[in-house]
Amino acid sequence: MTTAELSTLINATVVTPGNAADGTVTCGYACDLLSWVLAHGRPGMAWTTVQTHMNVVAVAVLMEMSCVILSENNRLEEDALAKARQEGLCVLVTDKTAYEVCGILMRAGIMPPSP
């Protein structure tokens, strides 16, 4: 699945498309504690969170994720958005809860990261 397809699936707004418009989503994860995300992060991961600050971008870029999904209409802070654009990170915003996003992605075959 590409990030563009994922975006359609969860009815998201593409805040910034990232460098790879057709970035491949390899797995999914939902968490707001950054150390947990770091411990489980994988290249190509689609990460759902309600955190909106600069370090969301830092963690996603460090882990080479395919996209960050902000649930429940949360918006990235301005400096974080600028950083996401600069780093070419895809950021999506959806009105759905993290729980719903996970349900939709799992049904579409996007699984949690392998241990």
Binding site: L38, H53, V56, L62
Partner: protein, 142 residues
């Protein structure tokens, strides 16, 4: 004494949440350009980010140093205080002394030191109250 062909210093300021992660990003970029294996690079990225954030959240400020030789990468974090009162406790998963501000940003899960230890091939920590903390992490390249 091992010869390091590259020694880079990255100063990390206390409480500077806006630039947190910059040093780790620079380290990762540099090592990627040098062709370090992606699985090793990922472990280094996790460990360097965690230690950088620890410097930022818990210390009065310090330095992250990255040294590279043909067969290993050594990351050293050193700060000037305040030091860790109980290292065994600090190494336990879930234990954190991060304050409200840090926790609100999603830090303080008590996974920092465990994540470092898990990802490094060798991990050591020394701390003295009032003097500071030094963490050394070794990553084998071969």
């Amino acid at each position: 004494m091992r010869e390091y062909s590259m020694v880079d210093h990255y100063p990390v300021s206390a409480r500077d949440f806006a630039t947190a992660g910059d040093a780790s990003a620079s380290i990762k970029r540099k090592l990627k350009q040098l062709g370090v294996d992606s699985a090793i690079l990922r472990r280094i990225a996790v460990a360097s980010y965690e230690v950088e954030l620890n410097l930022m959240i818990h210390s009065v400020g310090g330095t992250l140093t990255m040294m590279m030789s043909p067969d290993e990468i050594l990351l050293v974090s050193s700060d000037a205080g305040p030091g860790i009162p109980d290292i065994e406790k600090a190494l336990q998963e879930g234990f954190s002394t991060a304050d409200e501000e840090a926790r609100n940003l999603g830090f303080g899960a008590g996974m920092g030191l465990p994540n470092m230890r898990r990802n490094a091939d060798e991990f050591s920590i020394q701390s003295a109250l009032g003097r500071g903390t030094e963490i050394r992490m070794r990553f084998r390249l071969q």
